[in-house]
């Protein structure tokens, strides 16, 4: 199916292509994201299952013995799933309070922390662990509240948060384009992680716009999506030439080969 037809009607479908063969796992994207989106730091961040990391970089290895071992990294933002029929994002469809929504124009899965009741149903629904619950009040000790970005409201305890593809940047770009009388161009709207990546492993843009680089790259047969078979129909494409990395991106039966299995 052609790239644009994978998604429902709507002007844009913002998405990413992440080149795993370029990612060096430096964490630049994660930190840039946290500073852009006011993600706080708890005093104990080693409790990873309660730590908030919108853009998490997973380290994986091929499981082979020395010296055939290799590691690779999966940077994992929110993948902004669309689901297979209409806007049936795993998390959006389950939120009882409409605190998360699928924007039909951009394909971005939004999150409204001030509306979230903290039931965590969406956390359970997301297979990517892209959703995080604020188990704690984030401490902002003296002074550390100063670098907070005014474009993004810091969250309170007891709500769920996640990557929004830096939606505030899109709004800013739209405002700017509106005032300038132009359109939002490819480079006007880029996420913080994309800008930060020193290897240029992340490409961001509109998957529906054939002029955008992301739309061109995502067509490559080397591109695939995480857990594509579940039918989440997300918008973050990964790319690698390494078979073992690709195999780790989805579940396969023993006799199946990646790339030859259709999404369910």
């Amino acid at each position: 199916m052609s790239l644009a037809n994978r998604y429902s009607a709507g002007e844009h479908r913002f998405g990413m292509v992440i080149d795993i063969d370029k990612c060096t796992g430096c964490g630049g994207c994660t930190v840039a994201c946290m500073s852009e989106n006011n993600v706080g730091v708890l005093y104990d961040e080693t409790d990873k299952i309660r730590s908030i990391t919108w853009m998490r970089v997973y380290q994986v290895d091929n499981g082979k013995p020395f010296p055939e071992t290799q590691v690779a990294f999966f940077p994992r933002p929110c993948l902004h799933c669309e689901g297979s029929h209409g806007h049936h994002t795993p998390c959006v469809s389950v939120c009882p309070a409409t605190a998360t929504d699928y924007d039909p124009q951009t394909g971005i899965v939004s999150q409204i922390p001030t509306r979230c009741i903290g039931c965590r149903y969406c956390v359970g629904a997301c297979p990517y662990h892209a959703r995080y619950f604020n188990w704690f009040d984030t401490p902002w000790p003296a002074g550390l509240e100063r670098p907070l970005n005014p474009a993004v409201a810091p969250r309170m305890r007891g709500v769920v948060e996640k990557c929004t593809f830096c939606y505030h940047r899109y709004q800013r770009a739209k405002n700017k384009a509106f005032l300038g009388g132009g359109k939002v161009e490819e480079m006007d709207y880029q996420t913080a992680c994309t800008e930060a990546c020193p290897s240029g492993a992340i490409t961001f843009g509109d998957l529906k716009n054939p002029n955008h680089k992301v739309a061109q790259l995502a067509q490559s047969p080397e591109c695939f999506r995480l857990l594509e078979r579940l039918g989440t129909n997300n918008k973050v494409y990964y790319r690698t030439t390494r078979e073992w990395v690709r195999r780790l991106a989805d579940n396969y039966l023993k006799d199946e080969k990646p790339g030859q299995v259709a999404a369910s």
Binding site: C81, C116, I117, Y121, A125, W135, G231
Partner: protein, 411 residues
């Protein structure tokens, strides 16, 4: 201190001292729950051992379990008022009280379980009607209103309260139109029992929970309804039996209990046939499409296939076969045992659907994460049980719950 003038007409109850002692024990548990609730609300849910992998913990298991077991209220109500099985009138009061306890207890628990209790009502205010959880919230709350309406006449029938003419009239008139409430309750309860199942069945990105279905309802929707109405009557009967044992008084005829057992038996058998079919379809069709095998899902952590045998075998087929036999139902002890197994099956089923799907990693490079509830979580869970014990004990002591009690304990 003599409270006998509040007792129902013509019955005796235990001495106030013993009752107070029992209440103190329950209040102790409630105190534990109170402290836990205080900590969870003022310090946040970091007081629990839940985390981003185990977004749901023991609370949700208890919630789902007691709502399933509380289904005795709606189904007995349905049989009594809508299908006019008059012999069930002898147990309907108990069923309503248990239903009330389970539903109100579940809602209290959910109030602490959500991260923003003050925003709990946003589920109504900003309802997302596509969410099974929204349906659950609406139906549970509305059904709780129904249960309260059903419970009110019973309270008003207390010997002293009934002396007030306004209230006596009101109770009488509520009774007259109880069929309307019972029917509404049946409708509401039917849907939310189903939606609770649907909540997990729709998680299409969680292979362990996901089930195919029809239109918007996954098979779990129907299975949850069935398992709830199969175990609910058993649970109601068990509570009555327990009360009989504790009080040493006969409260209903064995015939009534046998009828409840029979209802359970048929429903449970029907449920099991469908459940086993569903499991086979899921294991052989649904899962392979997602690239997973049945074995994969039981390979890691403490969750082995023994859980399946336990849930469907010991807690499923065994009680179904037992209850189907008249001889078993005729035996007080054997029927009780079968009903206990049946209830365990429902609880187990709820556990399997809440905890296990979260424990099993979906991303191939994710790891199994363990979870054991904290003392605060146990505290709240115990508190809900204590709350139930208190309400039921008070109701039994002061309200004419069992119409046959006077008759059965003559001489």
């Amino acid at each position: 201190m003599d409270d006998s003038k509040f007792w129902p007409q013509g019955v005796t109850r235990c001495k106030p001292g013993a009752f107070i002692a029992w209440m103190v024990v329950c209040l102790g548990l409630l105190g534990w729950a109170g402290l836990s609730a205080f900590l969870c609300i003022f310090k946040g849910l970091n007081q629990t051992n839940m985390n981003d992998y185990f977004a749901f913990g023991v609370w949700i298991v208890v919630d789902l379990a007691i709502i399933a077991l509380g289904a005795g209220a709606f189904f007995t109500g349905f049989m009594t008022y809508v299908l006019r099985r008059d012999e069930l009138k002898n147990i309907i009061n108990a069923a309503v009280i248990i239903g009330f306890i389970c539903y109100s207890g579940a809602i209290l628990m959910l109030g602490i379980d959500i991260g923003q209790p003050a925003r709990g009502w946003f589920g109504f205010w900003h309802a997302n009607v596509h969410s099974m959880l929204t349906e659950v919230m609406f139906c549970i709350t509305t059904y709780l209103i129904v249960l309260i309406v059903e419970f009110i006449p019973l309270i008003l029938e207390n010997r002293q309260i009934n002396k007030v003419p306004d209230l006596a009239f009101f109770a009488h008139h509520l009774h007259r139109i109880m069929i309307v409430f019972a029917a509404t309750g049946t409708f509401l309860s039917f849907f939310h029992q189903g939606s609770l199942g649907g909540m997990f069945g729709v998680l299409y990105a969680r292979p362990f929970a996901y089930r195919a279905g029809i239109v918007i309802w996954p098979w779990t929707f129907f299975l949850f309804i069935l398992s709830a109405i199969a175990s609910g009557p058993s649970f109601t009967t068990l509570i009555v039996m327990l009360t009989e044992k504790v009080s040493g008084r006969k409260l209903t005829t064995h015939k009534v209990k046998m009828l409840m057992g029979k209802i359970s038996a048929y429903l449970l058998s029907f449920y099991l046939v469908l459940k086993i079919a569903d499991t086979l379809y899921w294991a052989n069709v649904t899962l392979p499409k997602m690239g997973v095998t049945f074995g994969d899902l039981y390979a890691g952590g403490p969750y082995g296939t023994y859980l399946v045998w336990l849930e469907l075998g010991l807690f499923g087929v065994v009680p179904a076969l037992l209850l189907l036999q008249r001889r078993v139902r005729e035996s007080y002890g054997l029927m009780a045992l079968a009903m206990v197994l049946n209830c365990c099956g429902a609880v187990m089923n709820r556990f399997v659907f809440t905890i296990q799907p979260l424990a099993i990693p979906v991303l191939p490079f994710e790891k199994f994460v363990g979870y054991l509830p904290s003392w605060q979580e146990w505290g709240i869970s115990a508190g809900v049980i204590a709350y139930g014990l208190i309400v039921f004990s008070l109701a039994y002591r002061y309200l004419p719950v069992f119409p046959q009690e006077v008759e059965l304990n003559k001489g």
